[in-house]
């Protein structure tokens, strides 16, 4: 095998300019794909991370049917205390779960005594919420990073700006409970929340006991339970497992009590993420086309230029399979050269991009820093694609070389 490589490399060195140009083309293709995958992948992961770690959690459990009417935040679709306790018992037994946070979600009126507007609120246990969505405090742009206390409210940035509300101001929250009774409570503004893309990205937060008080709940009712896993990569397998467990929990009417949704079903960003994946797939297809055409072109030329040599080695007894291997190894070596150079250059360019601190905007979010990252798995997959395609592209010319009649090849001028 080493002899095949030795001959292949010597033949590649024989036509230095052509080898350089082809390897350069493959290198550019690899660099471009690596850069695209790293930038889009990092953007996607950053957005997913931001949504799951500062708002949604990795998955959520609701009362069956809640999600269909989530836009109205229906209080009559909350989990009753008994159902929540049952759910809590199940969640506590799952070793994959790092934390979970019960929330009461409701809509109400927000008044500064001068102006009034509507608001969507989450009633939370601050300590449990922070364990479930640890990036939530990073969204509090004003307020000194203090945890949310009872009687305090974190309000969305846009509302604070439009209604000229500042930290320390007193505001009133008015809400109607599920029985139609209206109640109000004063809160002190303790934080202003940066808006983020996605559902709940412009919600306010209060303590869960305050929510119960505003809604005049005698016993706790929970709208949703956000769950954070220890290992995000196991989301699919865990959600299937938990879904299986929860489907066994039936109401008195024999209907399922709970429904489970991963972040993918809760956020429209999932479709953008899928589009990014699709674009990456098409970019990889383009790389395949570049490698296929360039390697095949070079190998066809190599066979055409070396017909007499092929005739000579065939005449002295080289078996067709070995002649085929000689050309396949040459194509493989060319692909490998492009892959090595492409990976090295790609990593250097990604490092430069990261050092440049390029910022971008997404939705209402501005100043997001582009942090390109490429995983070893991505590099491995891209490298394998190039190498496999190099071999495939070499096969046809190599096969042609191996099938040549030595007598005709020797006569070739």
């Amino acid at each position: 095998m080493s002899n095949l490589f030795k001959i292949a490399i010597r033949n590649l060195k024989r036509y230095k300019r052509r080898t350089f140009l082809t390897a350069f083309l493959i290198t550019l293709g690899v660099v471009f794909v690596l850069l695209f995958v790293s930038v889009t992948g990092s953007f996607k992961n950053m957005m997913i991370g931001q949504m799951t770690d500062s708002m949604l959690g990795h998955l959520q459990v609701h009362r069956k049917g809640y999600l269909a009417s989530i836009e109205n935040l229906p209080l009559n679709m909350n989990l009753r205390l008994q159902a929540y306790k049952k759910l809590e018992g199940i969640l506590n037994q799952q070793p994959e779960i790092e934390a979970y946070s019960p929330r009461i979600k409701f809509g109400g009126m927000f008044s500064t005594f001068v102006e009034t507007t509507n608001i969507r609120l989450n009633g939370i246990y601050p300590d449990r919420e922070l364990k479930t969505v640890p990036l939530l405090p990073s969204r509090v742009t004003n307020g000194g990073g203090k945890p949310l206390e009872k009687g305090e409210i974190w309000i969305p940035e846009l509302m604070a700006k439009s209604m000229k509300v500042n930290i320390g101001d007193t505001v009133v929250i008015i809400a109607t409970n599920k029985d139609g009774s209206v109640n109000g409570k004063q809160f002190k503004v303790a934080g202003v929340l940066e808006s983020i893309t996605g559902p709940g990205g412009r919600d306010g937060y209060i303590h869960i006991e305050d929510a119960m008080e505003v809604l005049r709940m005698e016993e706790m009712e929970i709208s949703e339970v956000a769950v954070r896993l220890k290992d995000f990569s196991r989301l699919r397998s865990f959600s299937s497992k938990l879904e299986g467990i929860l489907s066994g929990e039936l109401s008195k009417q024999g209907k399922p009590m709970f429904e489970l949704h991963t972040w993918e079903k809760l956020s429209p960003f999932y479709n953008i993420a899928r589009m990014i994946d699709l674009m990456a797939f098409f970019i990889k297809l383009m790389l395949i086309a570049v490698v296929l055409i360039s390697i095949m072109n070079v190998m066809i030329m190599a066979v055409y230029e070396r017909i007499r040599e092929i005739g000579t080695i065939a005449a002295i007894g080289t078996l067709p399979g070995k002649i085929l291997s000689l050309f396949v190894v040459e194509g493989f070596s060319l692909g490998l050269l492009g892959v090595i150079a492409g990976n090295i250059l790609g990593l250097i360019i990604i490092a430069i991009v990261n050092l440049s601190n390029i910022t971008f905007s997404f939705g209402r979010q501005t100043g997001l820093v582009l942090s390109a990252k490429v995983s070893p798995m991505d590099m491995l997959v891209i490298s394998l694609i190039v190498i496999v395609i190099s071999v495939v592209a070499s096969l046809q010319p190599a096969f042609k070389a191996s099938r040549m009649e030595p007598i005709k090849a020797l006569r070739h001028v």
């Binding site: 040599e309 007894g317 078996l319 007598i407």
Partner: protein, 245 residues
């Protein structure tokens, strides 16, 4: 090798051709390049096929070298009926039994002198390293190219290239070496020197050498000369006498 028993004399032949013909098709027209050629070549002999261009020398050498197949007749090389060998078997047979020397030397340009000679041992016969080195060095010494072993073909002269080609042809210990116009691209002095080396190799390794030429000056170097005209053997000359066919 085939044993031919005739009139109580047992003979062993490297090549036996019986009424061998070869037709080529050019468009719709069939051209007979060889017409019922018969001859026997004994082992360790130094044989030449001579004749003008188009007389069928190269065609005959291609048939003996299993690079092509006769249209009619019987052909045995090194005791094997080569008519029924398929593509793979032919390649294997050539690798084991026949060495080739080409008019244009046909050395592989990306390999050094040493590596060119090593090529058939590595890629055709899978000979182990130690044995390979021994055989190559012996032949390099024999053809006087040991000091040039690390040079590439484009760094040596035509005569030197042909010496390397002789060493490459002999390194697999073939029973038969075929040389098609081996001196055509060499000046006379070098041509005679190459033929001297071929003869020396024949004496040293007892290999049968068959070469073709149209150069009358070097024909005299052969021990047996077959003259070809229009695809037929018209004369057989044995050094010291003539046997008309």
């Amino acid at each position: 090798m085939r044993l031919v028993v005739a009139e109580n004399i047992t003979k062993i032949y490297s090549v036996v051709a019986a009424k061998v013909s070869k037709d080529y098709k050019v468009g719709e027209i069939a051209i007979r390049a060889l017409n019922e050629v018969s001859f026997e070549i004994e082992p360790a002999s130094f044989v030449s096929f001579v004749g003008p261009s188009g007389s069928g020398k190269t065609t005959l050498l291609n048939l003996i070298g299993c690079l092509d197949k006769p249209t009619e007749g019987k052909l045995e090389v090194a005791g094997t009926d080569v008519l029924h060998l398929d593509r793979k078997q032919s390649a294997r047979f050539r690798g084991e039994n026949i060495g080739f020397i080409f008019q244009d030397f046909n050395l592989i340009p990306v390999l050094t002198v040493y590596e060119n000679i090593e090529y058939p041992l590595l890629m055709v016969q899978n000979v182990p390293g130690g044995e390979r080195k021994k055989r190559i060095m012996t032949l390099l010494e024999a053809v006087g190219m040991a000091d040039q072993k690390d040079k590439y073909p484009d760094q040596i002269s035509g005569g030197q290239k042909q010496r390397v080609a002789i060493a490459r042809a002999l390194v697999t210990n073939p029973k038969l070496v075929l040389a098609d116009e081996p001196t055509a691209n060499l000046d006379h002095k070098t041509a005679f020197m190459v033929l001297e080396i071929m003869k020396k190799m024949r004496n040293e390794f007892q290999t049968t050498f068959v070469f073709s030429t149209h150069d009358q000056k070097i024909v005299g170097e052969a021990e047996i000369v077959y003259s070809l005209e229009d695809g037929e053997i018209v004369e057989k000359q044995i050094k010291g006498g003539t046997a008309n066919e």
